[in-house]
Symmetry: C2
Subunit: 251 residues, 2 copies
């Protein structure tokens, strides 16, 4: 069976997240149903990141096996047609090697988190950014964030339901940039613990508000205790922005 | 009665436009009802631009008279509270002179039009940009657009239902910039004819596709005939981005 690699974009609003749920609509289910309508097969999609309810994707990657050897552009266009009017889209489909695995082969994941700081409620950005009705010091957030970069035990920033075998991860980048009333936080690592990005963002907002110093953030990390986490930023500001794989043949 | 100047942001999706309609929800009605809930008065809002159904605003300006002399921040915060969960927001409220008129005093309006050129349907930008499933030559569009700048009879780019007394307008700026698969068109003038921006954008897309030359666009303008207009770009890519007034006391 030919394997395809899919690059996906979606608005996570109204979905229970990537993974199939018994009673709630999921991104995976919507895609698998659209594939079923297209090729009359029961297919199973495997994604690089199982995004939570409300989390968006700019470039999620998934793989799928199909019985027939369709041209990749046909797969993309036909499944997109069956996805309408859902806000889920296949940006690209490509043939992949039979051993390509969207989740296990990924060597880097990039998340972006968007915050809008202003008094007035959001309209155009509703469900697409975290509305914080106070100003935040982006420079202080960026400086404090550097204390989280590197190889650490991230138990403080790990959801209670996280199933990872170890809380130790290497965070390659955690950058905070501000422009006008918008703040964007970029987090890059081989992999993340469950809700790690949202947990780090919530604590960084404490720094941006001046309630925490960079030392407080570092101390929270060193506590290795979920109770030391500042707060968990809401899902609707988070975007899975990119997933990187080794060049072909080096996996 | 104290007069207030309001700066408004809204997602026009699902609204019949700014102006009150008998049977359809409008931005004006939603705001007037929220004001009514706040101060128990029948109020009437006057906006700088009566945006069409589906058109968004980043900075619409309106004025309103209230019986009581509320602090402007109270007006903003309380009415925003009554607007929930609608995607309409008062960014700023300020006291205005009794003779300030949001529509007649405006000396400049800036519109932005967003296009995303790609094969895959939009998700995050659904209803927030025009999806054109072909690539467009932004540089050619920008060059051709310069032929529309200046004082002209814009009958070609004027909706049949336009109520302006004259089709002659002065277009101060029409710029086209491309970045990746996104194109943004900026149009600036004291005032526009009904659907002028969307009509110009639709014709510019013909240029971007290579179907029209800059000469064809110029020729369409010179025809002064609605039939010469290329097509009308959809409403959901259009944003009223700013309205400018003379400095206080110079109106």
């Amino acid at each position: 069976m030919p394997r395809y690699r899919l690059t996906l974009e979606y608005d996570g609003t109204g979905y229970a997240g990537w993974q199939r749920q018994r009673d709630q609509p999921s991104i995976q289910q919507a895609l698998e149903e659209a594939f079923g309508s297209f090729c009359q097969e029961d297919v199973n999609l495997v994604a690089a990141g199982r995004t939570d309810a409300g989390v968006h994707a700019l470039q999620q990657v998934a793989h799928v096996d199909l019985v027939r050897d369709w041209p990749p552009a046909t797969v993309r266009n036909a499944v997109n047609q069956h996805l309408r009017p859902r806000a889920i889209s296949i940006l690209e489909a490509a043939r992949a090697g039979a051993d390509f695995h969207a989740r296990f082969d990924a060597v880097e994941r990039l998340y972006r988190y968007r915050i809008v700081c202003r008094r007035a409620p959001l309209t155009i950005d509703l469900n697409r950014a975290w509305h914080v009705p106070r100003s935040l010091d982006a420079a202080a957030m960026h400086e404090a964030a550097q204390g989280l970069v590197g190889r650490h035990d991230f138990s403080t920033f790990r959801d209670a339901g996280c199933q990872a075998s170890s809380p130790v991860k290497t965070l390659d980048e955690l950058g905070v940039t501000g422009a006008g009333d918008a703040i964007v936080i970029s987090a890059r690592a081989r992999s993340f613990l469950h809700r790690q990005v949202r947990s780090m963002v919530g604590s960084l907002v404490h720094v941006g508000e001046g309630r925490w110093t960079a030392g407080d953030l570092r101390h929270a990390l060193e506590r290795r205790d979920r109770q030391a986490c500042g707060m968990i930023a809401p899902a609707h500001g988070l975007y899975l922005a990119a997933v990187r794989y080794p060049p072909e043949g080096q996996a």
